[in-house]
Symmetry: C2
Subunit: 474 residues, 2 copies
């Protein structure tokens, strides 16, 4: 794919108007890097369309001129899916101006939004209408719905409400040819042909650009309880999760596992975070319960769960948040755990899942293997235990050289992902494939699966213009 | 596609062995018709493979010889998806011998089954392991998991547990080429590439044959309450549903709407069904509540809901089942409602959904239009109100000629589906497209959507052998 000529860039710019175009290197620069600093791309044009028709015109021109397009929303992705390639051929299409809440129907439990709406804004509007939009993740202040859909975002509420795929009823997508698919349905049941919606969700912008979505809203729970408990081992955490799951059923809205070192990192580096317990424990869990019928049900469930836990010796110490502020503080600690690793030097990260019952075995084996390969490594593995999803992060040994440490990213990946595969897990539980895991995916998946993905890609994007080089190479 | 020669039929038969082949017209006959009597196909061969390898060998030979294959499981489909075409070219592949429960892990909440397992057997095995497999529908004693997946089956528990798509973690599929895709994953979170699983689910056997699946199991609820209430109007039923949904949240496991005529049909024709109330009402709802923490929570929720309902004038009369037998009896009435129409003569059926809030308007408009077109028609519209899914069935006027009545199927479809489209609903909420709604789907959907479906079909099944003529015409 060739680098677009200045004349061609002008034609693209004319679609959205000069005021909505970035062409200066300094303006474009922030769009070329991602948070982890793993990828640095090149591009000479950022387009900010203001309507689905403009997105359509851009993709039509791109298809006709074989110009590569990289869709970008909040630029918070963690696998380089939103970063242009470094050959300078890619034009970036940012949805940031398409941030309109098109409709809210709290009674029907539905919200129709532009792909460029910021997640936190969507949450807020839902709340103003007395409803809950449950998707919640660390970057919610800047990530945008189109990207959340493109990556099938997960986060902290998946246990009860599911991933983005489960939170979306319908989509509006601009196809690589510029054609607009209006799939903005709002039905709970609709068995009419192939599931195009779920194909676009999670395709990381390689099959089209998601410009609009029908989202599901939920009742705001009447009861909400958050507790933080000190635990002896991952095995005990699993037992406690099973008790919680049995007792609370769908009222169990969060069950997060954290190691001692993660608590230390957050209390050390994150403003306002303090250790919620006076005693020290190797592991911690954050338990979140939400009930619809009454506040008392949540209180009763949490008390019963912790009481059982103490009696069975699973819980060593625990505190229940006594105010909304305390609840937020406990969640803030958990959500800061990734960021809190930064001041400690380099961090090699993994976003893996295994069957929930395999978590203890996986954690022990991974610890042994990582520590054998890199004595002094500081493993900060935390995550959504109830989903089997662990962010298996490794901070550099104290005093180690950061660049040298980061240079061992692939080696550590191989160790951790090898054990993930042994336990029939996933090398990307919620972040996606992007550039980071593209070749690894092709190496671990059966050839027929990659072949089916290539066939879909080719048939949706015959000109090969949509986010090329991401997810699957055609 | 040509009619296969006797020599070719021999080659197919050799794959599974003579003992597992039907070639006599009398033996094949039951496989050529479906329950509604709308379709009658032709075929000279039924193959009953005993393993995924045999299915693979069959499809490989079919691809090489351009032989059309129709997959069949329980033959309970309602849209002709499992019925061969009438040109005699199709070979039927029945999964009935592949009915092995491969694994049950109640702790992990997982069950791995063959595509030919009967739904009721799967439910039973789950129960024996102290778990719940929630999919439940009228034909559960004979329908099979492969067909449930191929049609993304719904049923009575969708409100709380979702369709088949939500109840399945992974699939094993034999592709039209004979290649086997092992996608038997058991992960709650896995964002690694395009969502092939959800593409095969609901594709009605046009993209491959589902030979195995990983199913989700759930805790058996501790509390279970079923009530039957007499209601004045569909509007009141909707208000009551909203109250129930708000009060019970995910504990509301069923909310079914039924008309007086449906109660009359079932009490008249179905053994053991009697009217649960002494008073007569134009509408009824069946309310099902399941709770995980205790039996008392379910009792408390049901009492509170009915009490509020009486006070607000929404509930005119109600009974709460006082035993499991009574609970079953109430559900039995609901599940017999379609079958109970048969002794009343012809029935023109619809399986539609509209946004839940549109149900009252849709029901009024449909009644007006149907009665205007066919005075004396007896509308027996019932269904899963909480999912917006109404089985809008019309029984023939008393004394009308059955054949003449059934001859007006398309005309009545147009009336009902026209109103469904007006309310942005679906012409197939849970039964699928098959042959029955294939051309209608193409006429109501945007051309780009049909084009994307055709592209997927062509790229997965280049020889065009998989269940041709169903869902989408290539």
């Amino acid at each position: 794919m060739a680098i677009p000529s200045p004349a061609l860039l002008d034609r693209f710019a004319a679609i959205v108007g000069a005021a909505h175009v970035l062409r200066e290197a300094a303006d474009i620069a922030p769009r070329l890097v991602e948070n982890r600093g793993l990828y640095h791309g090149a591009s000479s044009l950022v387009l900010k369309p203001g309507s689905v028709e403009e997105v359509s015109a851009i993709l039509k021109l791109a298809s006709e001129t074989a110009t590569a397009i990289v869709p970008q929303t909040g630029n918070t992705g963690l696998v380089g899916g939103q970063t242009p390639r470094d050959n300078g051929a890619d034009v970036i299409v940012s949805l940031e101006r398409m941030n309109r809440i098109r409709e809210v129907d709290p009674v029907a439990g539905i919200m129709v939004v532009d792909g460029g709406c910021i997640l936190a804004d969507v949450q807020k509007v839902a709340e103003e209408h007395g409803r809950l939009f449950p998707l919640s993740l660390g970057s919610e202040g800047s990530c945008r719905i189109g990207g959340n859909l493109a990556t099938n975002a997960g986060g902290t509420a998946v246990l009860a409400y599911g991933n983005m795929r489960q939170l979306c009823l319908g989509l509006e997508v601009v196809l690589p040819t510029g054609e607009i698919w209006n799939g903005l349905r709002r039905l709970k049941k609709d068995n009419t042909g192939y599931d195009l919606r779920d194909l676009f969700i999670g395709a990381e912008g390689t099959l089209g650009i998601i410009t609009g979505a029908v989202l599901k809203l939920f009742p705001q729970p009447l009861g909400h309880q958050v507790a933080f408990a000190g635990i002896r081992s991952v095995e005990d955490a699993l037992s406690l999760f099973r008790n919680a799951s049995g007792l609370c059923g769908p009222a169990l809205t969060g069950f997060e596992l954290m190691p001692r070192i993660g608590v230390e990192f957050t209390t050390r580096h994150i403003d306002g975070v303090r250790d919620p317990l006076e005693t020290v424990h190797p592991w911690y869990v954050l338990i979140d319960i939400s009930t619809s019928d009454s506040a008392e049900t949540a209180e009763r469930m949490m008390s019963a769960l912790l009481e059982q836990g103490f009696e069975a010796g699973l819980v060593q110490d625990a505190t229940i948040a006594s105010s909304q502020a305390q609840q937020k503080a406990l969640w803030h600690m958990r959500e800061s755990m990734s960021g809190a690793q930064k001041p400690e030097g380099g961090s090699i990260k993994h976003d893996v899942s295994v069957p929930v019952s395999q978590i203890p075995a996986f954690m022990h084996e991974a610890e042994q293997a990582v520590m054998a390969a890199m004595p002094g490594a500081r493993i900060c593995a935390f995550g959504h235990m109830g989903d089997g999803n662990i962010h298996y992060n490794i901070s550099q040994p104290v005093g180690a050289d950061k660049a040298e440490f980061i240079g061992r990213w692939r080696e550590m990946n191989q160790i951790v992902h090898g054990l993930v595969m042994k336990h029939e897990g996933s090398i990307s539980a919620e972040h996606g494939i992007g550039q980071l895991k593209r070749d690894e995916l092709a190496s671990i998946r059966p050839e027929i699966e990659m072949e089916l993905m290539r066939r879909i890609k080719k048939s949706f994007d015959p000109a090969g213009i949509m986010n090329p080089g991401k997810v699957v190479v055609v």
